[in-house]
Every structure is written in structure tokens, then in C-alpha cells.
Symmetry: C2
Subunit: 274 residues, 2 copies
């Protein structure tokens, strides 16, 4: 993410790129786009951490060059708020808006204070007993010969709870829930912007619900980041309570290796008309 | 909410007003401002229903004139997305941005389809056995003589579950939860934009948690509307699982009189530094 021109203006444009491999069947991963938008926004606002970020996905992203337009709404003492818009800028043809973002950034503590927690991290087998979709991994690989396996899954280390991983081989758990571990390859540290990507990295919960959906496009994703994560595997859980009115929500919770809640998300996805 | 100038442009400004009485101790109710912003946005986009709306509250609202600037992001077949900004425009002095909004609107069904629901409406005593803060009501009024009772509570019919209503008289339930009924006076119908107001009308959950907070300013509120509500009382439930890192989330669910989930919300609020 590179800023064009001089700092100090309330508006700025950043150049970025959907690197090859950060896609799922040709569509840029939504969390990846969101992390690009948040990186530009946090830079523009001069605050390290996205505290609350909402993205509306208006068109699927493609590999190639992007521009991120950021404009400040308000800069306060503790928090600053901006809007961002991610546009695909193909070498030929017209630019296309992919995502509209509204974000408030600040400086978070690590670990944050804990006053009240009425939830627990998901109970997961150790990462080496979970299921990977990364073809180079040493653990059980769900479907190594599937030619269309998302290359995105090679860019991250994602290990699914075995109970929640059966959907890929026709054995869904029956519950709209997906649990698993996440880290970056080579144990690269994840910052608070990277957490946004974690919140959109897992397969859809409803793949486990025995419903006739094989895709559920995201309309909107809101992420709250509570604390900078400790190093190590992140324990993640995504659940759905309502598939109604043509929509479904997916609620995510991410805990770090010290057992601290670091991020929460909710997305609204579209039930495909079948 | 009145539009300035001719239709057809991708940007528009609407004039509105914080009517007297729609405040809590002088601050305009957030859900009221949000409903104003959503009404301008839905009008501008030509779609009846807000499907997903996020507001970042950047300054407290005051009674008086407002301007809402709306600009389209994308209009698709089923959904259209816009940004909005609510500004206070005092007769003298500079305008002040109060709220930044990102919204996707469409046309919702009534009632919406139900594929999977893993939750139930809150179990509430009938409205006449619940607790009101409306001084003119015939039912039990929590604190009729309190001179500073929010006048906002006179503008709506809000009946709290007796278990969740004790915080006002020094007897909090101990659980960060608030349940109750909502309708408008005179049984005025509530549309999907009115639901946004319902989602921000109840007292904070943490007032019941025996924590030393007497105010919890909202940073961000996201509302999902699933279905147009049937007439009658709405059953509402708000809960909090995490008070950590200096923040707390509040999750809301609204069911209509037919037992259909009509809206969901999550807000991120700030834990006051004590």
C-alpha cells in the first residue's frame, strides 16, 4: 500500500495490488481487500489499530492493481474516523468500485483489560490434529487432488476442527459452525490489521448446515478489534443463528494464544436463490 | 427529511431537524439520528428498506437543524449502497459532523423466508406487567418523580422486563442483559427504518452488570434488517458478552408479534475510564 503525493490533506489515494494467489477461484479474498483498505486508512489517520471497520462488498475483486481513496471524517484525541473506497484500476477499461469502508482507528493495548467475559475460546484439538486445505502441509489435507482448491488457502495456515471440516468431502457436521486455528506461514506476526483478514478467512458456517448452498456472497462485514494479539496460533469460531429473509449472519470470535479475546466480527451474507 | 434540489444526481443533501424531546439529557438519541440518516439514504437510493446500516458516532447530537449528505456508491439490481454524513447546522456557528453512515438498501419481504433459526424470542411478561419509564403510562412507572428522566422515553412505548428494570432504583440484575417490549404511541406502525431506532432505544445492558458505569458512549452501531415487521409489540433482547480492552459490544435481536426475527444489531461502546 503506497500513498500518492504529500501527507497532510484530508483526502488521499493509495496504490495497491491484489497479488496472485490471494484469490478464491479468481475472486480476491474479501478479508485481503479489507486489510488493504484498513492499512491505507490507518496510515492516513496516523493511528496503528483498526478498532471498528465495516466493509460493504459491492463487486467481486480480481487480481491486479487497486486504488484506495481515503477521506477523514473526524480526528479526535483517542479515535479517528475515515471512509475508504477500494477501486479496481485495470490497465485497460474503466475503474470499478469493489468495496466501501467506514473505519474508526486508535491505539490498542496488548493485552487489553478484562472486566467481564461471558464466553470461552473454542475447544480445539492441537493444530497438528486438525485439517488443513494447504497442499504443502504435513497434517491431514482435506482434498489434496482437487484441482480447484483455492490458492488462497496456500497463503495462510488454517487448521479446521475435524468435526467442522467434513463439508468438503460431503460429510457436513449439520451445525452452522466452523472452528479452527489460524496463523501466517513462517509464524509471521499478525498485527491488528491482519486480524481483519483472519475474520474473513474461514469457510462459510452454512457449508456445515446441510443446506443447498455452495456459495454465500458477503454483503457486509463488520470487525471489532479489542486487543493486539500475542504471538502464536489464533483460535477462531464462527457461528450462524439465523438463515432467514434471504440472508444469514455469521458471527466470528478470535482468541489469541494467551486466551484473550482479540477480535469479533459479524457479516451479513446473501442466501443464493436456488 | 426533505431533499434539496432536483433528483437524479449521485449526491444529494437532505434537511432535517432534531425535534425537541428526542434527546436524552440534551443529547439527540443515536437511533433517532440514524433513522434520519437512513430515511435520507433510502430515499436517495429509491429503495424502501435498509438491509445493513453502520453508523460511526463522532460527536453527540443536539436539538436543532441537521443536514444529511448522501452519495451513492453503487446501485445494483437487488441492492444499492450509499454513504451518508449527518451534520448539525446551527443557525450561528460552524456545522459539526455528528455521524458517518454506510448503508445498503433493498426491498424486503414481509414476512421473510425462514430456513434455519437457532434462537427464540425472549420470554417476557405481558406489556402491562412490565416496567415503563414513560410518565404518562398506566403501568408501573420506574421512577415517576425523577426530574431528569429522559424525555425520549415519553416519545416511545418501551416496557422493560421487571428483572432487567431494577438498575434505575439501585437493584441491577447482575447480568448484562436488557429485555423488553417496544412500540410507538397510538400503535403507529413501525417500518424497517423505524426498526433502526428500536435497536438503539433500550438502556445499556451493562447498567445491569454491577459495573461502575453510568454512561457508555456508542462508537459504532451496525443494524441488519431481515424482514418488514408485523403490526404490534416488538420483543427485544440486548446482551453483552465481552467488556474488555476498554470496549464492550451490545448485541440486539428484535422479533415481531408474529414471532419472526426482524432485525439484529451489534454496537461497540466505550467503557468510560473511571
Amino acid at each position: 500500500v503506497r500513498r500518492r503525493g504529500a501527507p497532510g490533506s484530508p483526502q488521499a489515494t493509495y496504490d495497491a495490488e491484489v497479488a496472485p494467489g490471494w484469490d478464491i477461484l479468481g475472486n480476491a479474498n474479501g478479508g485481503y481487500l479489507l486489510a488493504i483498505a484498513a492499512r491505507a486508512t490507518a496510515d492516513h489517520l496516523g493511528r496503528a489499530d483498526p478498532v471498528t471497520v465495516t466493509a460493504h462488498f459491492v463487486a467481486p475483486g480480481r487480481p491486479g492493481p487497486l486504488a484506495v481513496d481515503v477521506s477523514s471524517v473526524r480526528a479526535g484525541r483517542r479515535f479517528a474516523t475515515a471512509r475508504a473506497e477500494v477501486r479496481s484500476v485495470p490497465p485497460e477499461g474503466d475503474p470499478l468500485t469493489l468495496m466501501a469502508v467506514l473505519a474508526t482507528c486508535g491505539e490498542l493495548a496488548e493485552p487489553g483489560s478484562v472486566v467481564l467475559v461471558d464466553a470461552e475460546p473454542p475447544v480445539l484439538p492441537p493444530p497438528e490434529e486438525c485439517v488443513s486445505h494447504r497442499r504443502t502441509d504435513d497434517v491431514h489435507v482435506a482434498d489434496p487432488d482437487r484441482p480447484s482448491a483455492p490458492t488462497f488457502m496456500d497463503r495462510v495456515e488454517l487448521r479446521l476442527h475435524p468435526v467442522d471440516a467434513g463439508f468438503g468431502v460431503g460429510d457436513p457436521s449439520g451445525e452452522p459452525r466452523v472452528r479452527g486455528w489460524f496463523r501466517l506461514p513462517g509464524e509471521e506476526p499478525i498485527d491488528t490489521i491482519g486480524l481483519l483478514q483472519v475474520l474473513d478467512a474461514f469457510p462459510p458456517t452454512v457449508f456445515n448446515a446441510r443446506l443447498p448452498f455452495n456459495w454465500v456472497p458477503t454483503l457486509e462485514l463488520t470487525c471489532h478489534v479489542r486487543s493486539r494479539p500475542a504471538p502464536g496460533w489464533l483460535a477462531c469460531e464462527f457461528t450462524t443463528r439465523f438463515v432467514t429473509g434471504g440472508f444469514l449472519e455469521e458471527d466470528g470470535v478470535v482468541w489469541d494464544s494467551a486466551g484473550t479475546l482479540v477480535a469479533q466480527s459479524r457479516q451479513l451474507a446473501l442466501m443464493p436463490r436456488g
